[in-house]
C-alpha cells in the first residue's frame, strides 16, 4: 500500500444557498480544490462523491455521472462513484478514495461531498433524516431522529455521566469557532443560556442542540505521498482511514451512551497511524446533535466517560485552551451540515489546520488532526487521521 497525501482542498460557503443549484455548489468546491492543488484537470483519474439523498432532496439520482459531467471529467471518461452512508457519506467517500490511491488503482483522485437540502420543506427534510435510523421500527413508530438523540441525552443525565448544561455547552464551543470561519453558516458566538432557552425539539434537546439544514459542498484532491511535491509544497499526509459499523437501530445496542463504531474505528485508526488519542491536537467530530459531540470526545479516547462534558463546559475544547481543539470549523452546528458534504468538509478543516492556513482559528504547531464522521445513530463511522509534513 502507498502512503497518500491531500494536495488540494476546497469548500463552498455553507448555508441556505437559494440562488445556487446542486451542480453549481458541487463544481465550485471541486474547482477550488483542483486550483489549490495546481492541477490542470487532466491528471484526475478517479472521482468519489459523498451524497446522501439527492434522489429525495432534489429528485436527482446518478450524482456520480452529474459530477463527472459538470466537472469536465466525463470528456476523459474518468470513473466516478457516488457513496451513500447516511450522514457519514462524505467520510466514507474520502476513505474509498484514499484506498483507491493507496492500492495503486488510481493516481490523482478528486473527492467531493455535496448536498442541496433547502429546496425541500423542513418537514420533508426531517422525514429524510429520520430514515437514516431504522425507517420501519424507529421512524415508522413515531420515534424521530432527534428523539433518538434526546433519549441518549436523557439516559446520560440519568446515569450521571453528563449534565444538561454540559451537553448544551457543545453548541457554545461550535459557535465560538463558527464565528471565526468565513465559510460557516452561523458566524455568531452564543451563550449557554441561548442553548438552554431555545425552543424544545425533543426534550431535553432544543433547537440549538441540533445542526441546521444546509446546502454546501466540499472537496479534496489526493495523490501518492511521493508525488505530492510535483504539484504543491502545501500538502498533508493521510496517516489513517478507518471505518466501522454498528446496528442500524439504536434499540439493538447493549449501551446507548457510547457509539461502538466510533470506538472501533478510532482504535483501528490509531493503530494504523501508530499513535494514541493523546497525540491529536485538533479534531473535527460529528455534532449533528450536541450529545453526539460529547459522546464522540469520549469514544475517540480524548476524555474518559463522564469527563468530556465538563471539559467542553469549561471551554477546554476551544482553540489554544486545552490538549485538543474540537470543531475549529464550527462543527456541524455552526459551520452547517449539508449531509454529504460534512465528512469531506471535516477533512478540509483538518488539512487547513495542519498546513497552517486556518487563519484566526489556527491551532499552533498541530502535528496530528483527526476527523470523525458518523452515519445515522453511529451505524457507520469513519475516523481519519492526517499528519503535518
Amino acid at each position: 500500500m502507498r502512503d497518500v497525501a491531500i494536495i488540494g482542498v476546497g469548500v463552498t460557503k455553507f448555508g441556505e444557498l437559494w440562488n445556487k443549484s446542486f451542480r453549481a455548489i458541487g463544481i465550485e468546491a471541486g474547482m477550488k480544490a483542483m486550483e489549490d492543488a495546481n492541477l490542470s484537470g487532466n491528471e484526475v483519474d478517479g472521482i468519489f462523491v459523498g451524497n446522501m439523498s439527492a434522489g429525495r432532496f432534489i429528485n436527482q439520482q446518478h450524482i456520480d455521472a452529474l459530477i463527472a459531467d459538470y466537472s469536465g471529467m466525463a470528456t476523459n471518461h474518468v470513473p466516478a462513484t457516488r457513496v451513500e452512508a447516511g450522514d457519514a457519506s462524505g467520510g466514507v467517500a474520502f476513505r474509498q478514495a484514499v484506498m483507491a490511491v493507496a492500492s495503486g488503482m488510481n493516481d490523482v483522485v478528486l473527492v467531493g461531498g455535496a448536498e442541496k437540502m433547502t429546496d425541500l420543506d423542513d418537514t420533508s427534510i426531517n422525514a429524510i433524516m429520520d430514515s437514516t435510523a431504522d425507517a420501519e421500527w424507529e421512524a415508522g413508530m413515531g420515534v424521530t431522529f432527534a428523539g433518538l438523540h434526546a433519549m441518549i441525552a436523557q439516559r446520560m443525565i440519568h446515569d450521571g455521566t453528563a449534565t444538561r448544561e454540559e451537553i448544551a455547552s457543545f453548541a457554545v464551543n461550535s459557535h465560538f469557532h463558527g464565528a471565526l470561519n468565513p465559510n460557516a453558516q452561523f458566524r455568531k458566538a452564543i451563550t449557554l443560556d441561548t442553548v438552554l432557552r431555545s425552543g424544545p425539539v425533543a426534550t431535553p434537546l432544543g433547537m440549538f442542540d441540533c445542526a441546521p439544514i444546509s446546502d454546501g459542498a466540499a472537496s479534496v484532491v489526493l495523490c501518492p505521498l511521493e508525488d505530492a511535491k510535483k504539484y504543491t509544497d502545501s500538502y498533508v499526509k493521510v496517516s489513517a482511514v478507518a471505518q466501522a459499523s454498528d446496528t442500524l437501530s439504536l434499540s439493538q445496542r447493549e449501551d446507548i451512551t457510547t457509539y461502538g463504531a466510533t470506538v472501533a474505528a478510532a482504535q483501528r485508526a490509531y493503530q494504523q497511524a501508530g499513535i494514541t488519542a493523546q497525540d491529536i491536537q485538533v479534531a473535527e467530530v460529528h455534532d449533528n446533535y450536541t450529545v453526539a459531540g460529547i459522546m464522540a470526545l469520549q469514544d475517540l479516547g480524548f476524555y474518559k466517560r463522564g469527563e468530556a462534558g465538563k471539559a467542553v463546559l469549561e471551554g477546554r475544547c476551544q482553540v489554544g485552551a486545552g490538549p485538543v481543539a474540537v470543531n475549529t470549523s464550527g462543527g456541524l452546528k455552526a459551520r452547517g451540515h449539508p449531509i454529504g458534504a460534512t465528512g469531506v468538509a471535516q477533512i478540509v478543516e483538518i488539512a487547513e489546520q495542519l498546513r497552517g492556513s486556518a487563519d484566526k482559528r489556527q491551532v499552533e504547531n498541530a502535528k496530528y488532526g483527526l476527523a470523525q464522521s458518523s452515519g445515522g445513530m453511529g451505524s457507520a463511522v469513519t475516523v481519519s487521521i492526517m499528519e503535518a509534513i
Binding site: 418537514t123 422525514a127 420515534v143 424521530t144 441518549i152 425539539v201 425533543a202
Partner: protein, 134 residues
C-alpha cells in the same frame, strides 16, 4: 407513502410484538431476525417464533415537539425506549400519560393503537404503543 403490501407483511411484529428466538444461543430478536448475529452459521435453521413480553419499564424517553407527517398532529408526544420484562428493547410512543409524570423506570405495557393514516394510499397503519401499567 406506504403500499398495502409493505404494511401487511409487518403486521405480526407491529400488532403482536412477534419476534424470533435463536434456539442455539437463546437470544431474542425484535424486530424478528431470520439470522442470528451471534451464532451466524451455527444458528441457521434454529430460529423460531417468539412473542415478546408486552410489559416492561421505561429505559429512556423524550417529549417530541417536532415530527413529520401524521405525528405532527399529535405533538408534543412521548417516545420511549422500553425494556420489556424479557429484556428486549423496543422504541415506541408512550401514550395516555401525563407529560410531567414520565420517568425512567416507570412500568408500562403495550397496547394496539393507530400509528398513522397515509393520505396518498389511504392505508391506516396500526401498531404497538405503550401506556402506563398501573
Amino acid at each position: 407513502m406506504s403500499t398495502v403490501a409493505r404494511e401487511w407483511r409487518e403486521i405480526p411484529g407491529r400488532y403482536n410484538l412477534e419476534g424470533t428466538k435463536c434456539e442455539n444461543c437463546g437470544s431474542i430478536f425484535f424486530p424478528a431476525r431470520d439470522f442470528c448475529p451471534k451464532c451466524r452459521r451455527a444458528g441457521i435453521g434454529k430460529i423460531s417464533r417468539y412473542d415478546v413480553c408486552r410489559r416492561g419499564k421505561v429505559f429512556s424517553f423524550s417529549i417530541v415537539h417536532d415530527a413529520p407527517d401524521f405525528n405532527n398532529m399529535l405533538k408534543p408526544y412521548v417516545v420511549a425506549m422500553v425494556q420489556t420484562d424479557d429484556g428486549v428493547m423496543v422504541s415506541a410512543q408512550l401514550v395516555d400519560v401525563d407529560l410531567d409524570k414520565v420517568a425512567i423506570g416507570m412500568p408500562v405495557r403495550a397496547v394496539l393503537r393507530k400509528l398513522s393514516a397515509d393520505g396518498a394510499s389511504g392505508v391506516i397503519r396500526y401498531g404497538y404503543k405503550f401506556v402506563p401499567d398501573e
